[in-house]
């Protein structure tokens, strides 16, 4: 038994990022590092459920590990539902139950260029990816977003790696995003690089289809609603490439693009 895998840790800080507006508030939550003996890998996630939550919120909530070091575990979230509203109201010193690190993780090749494709809150795991990579000069981040850039921890990343962003101001902008994603994926196919992506399902579907079209290795981190995060409830399944249900929490969240379908 390793008690380290589920423990209550204290809130260090809760910071709304940038100039938030209703529905666009993005929050950085810093927690005490839970002391995972075997460490963590970029792309893995945690389930968190504050001790103060009454029984009306049943599930913990899954979040990509944005970053972690010996003292601090950082996650990012957008305030969109009952759970995230309450998480944004946490105060310093409150106790939060954390279980993890959970799931699969991104590869980090040293000798190949890596393209990081982030859609909205999909930027979260790439903060840790950049910080833990030995050769950040091999990394490029493409960021598609709706709220203004200053709402995200984008500036810190842009100082370390090559970045490019595109904002979706109106629905029609999605066509520019798709076109640019496809062009970048093709470019990394030509370079024999690795494509990594995290974001909403339609964004990941675009990446997956382009990766298969151009024959480039791609790893996608899926988001999904989860009740347990550990493979018990079977509530978070997606379809694999053979059309069978597979669990996002344990066989993912990071999948090879060729292993999943993402259709309907």
């Amino acid at each position: 038994m390793s008690a380290n895998n589920c423990r209550a840790v204290k809130v260090i800080d809760v910071t709304p990022l940038g100039h938030s507006s209703p529905g666009e508030e993005i929050v950085e939550l810093k927690l005490e590092y839970p002391g995972w003996e075997s460490g963590w890998r970029v792309g893995q996630f945690v389930m968190i459920r504050p001790v103060s939550w009454p029984l009306d919120l049943v599930w913990g909530r899954p979040f990509s590990i944005s970053n972690a070091d010996d003292t601090t575990l950082t996650i990012l979230f957008q305030v969109i539902g009952r759970g995230t509203k309450r998480l944004a109201q946490l105060t310093k010193g409150e106790q939060v139950n954390v279980w993890g690190p959970l799931g699969t993780f991104f590869s980090k090749p040293k000798d190949r260029p890596v393209l990081m494709l982030a859609g909205g809150m999909g930027i979260a795991p790439f903060c840790g990816y950049v910080d833990s990579h030995d050769q950040p000069e091999n990394l490029k981040l493409f960021f598609a977003h709706r709220p203004p850039l200053e709402n995200y921890p984008y500036k810190a990343l842009s100082e370390k790696v090559e970045v490019e962003d595109i904002r979706e101001n109106k629905p029609e902008d999605i066509h520019s995003i798709i076109a640019r994603v496809e062009a970048l994926v093709k470019e990394y196919a030509d370079k024999k690089g690795l494509v990594t992506a995290c974001g909403p399902t339609p964004f990941l579907r675009t990446v997956r289809n382009a990766a298969i079209k151009y024959g480039v290795e791609a790893e996608l981190s899926l988001e999904n609603r989860m009740a347990c995060g550990v493979g018990a409830c079977l509530g978070c399944v997606t379809k694999d490439s053979n059309g069978h249900h597979t669990q996002v929490c344990t066989t993912g969240p990071v999948f090879k693009a060729t292993d999943i379908s993402l259709e309907g």
Binding site: C6, W59, V230, A232, G235
Partner: protein
Amino acid sequence: MDMSVDFAGLKLKNPILTASGTFGFGLEFKRFGDLESLGGIVVKGLSLKPREGNPMPRIAETPCGMLNAIGIQNPGVEAFIKNKLPKLPWKTLPVLVNLYATDATEFGELAAVLSAEEGVAALEVNVSCPNVKEGGIAFGQDPRQITKVAEAVKKNAGNKPVIIKLSPNVTDIATCARAAEDGGADGISLINTLSGMAVDIERRVPRLTNVIGGLSGPAVKPVALRCVFQAVNAVKIPVIGLGGIASAEDAAEFLLVGATAVQIGTANFLSPDMAFRIAEELPKVLERVNAKSLDEFRGSLKLPK
């Protein structure tokens, strides 16, 4: 305090079990606690052949509860026997297997396969799943079908105790409990989920693709407690209580109305170490309420005269 329990000949070190569908195959929780500190585990419902389950979305959080329409996704009984059971410490941890089938004959076939497995301690028969089109809750709402399924499983179960898991979605739970007893069941467990629904007013759609799902979690505890109370008083066979148990105090409530053991279900999602914590805390709770022993406390509810 001695917390050991004899449930229809099954020796449990304490009355805390985990509920089917909320604890995977047990292996998923090894990193969060000592499985052998539990009275036993009830694994995910198994069918003869693998099942894909229902389309997504198939879970929704509701106030103090959750709806699920997983649809008995499982790898099939053979894959369980080959890949999961050998990894469980079944020599020291009772592993109860939950079965799902579409008719009495198929239930009998499943029982025959599992009765041959040394690592299977008991069979829990799901006659009450609200989330599948074939069979499912239809069995659980018809006392004659409950008896028929109990007979079919018992006939093929060898020396394994047979537990019938009942649905609360009936008019008279006592009649259903007696129907299980009449079919030769060694025990009953209840409740399975309550039939429920949730909708999204923004998108004007149901929150589950299946439209209707099974409600579980703290919201259902009063219903579960009532059903267990009525069942305990209707049959001579032992009863396992479940439904919304999220603390050692909750577990004690079910024991007080007469349950021999309890199962922890949706609360495993509040925290993956919940069942372990409840098993650890239950003796302290019983001591706090001045119980002399588990046997003395069980069923000692004082009713108004």
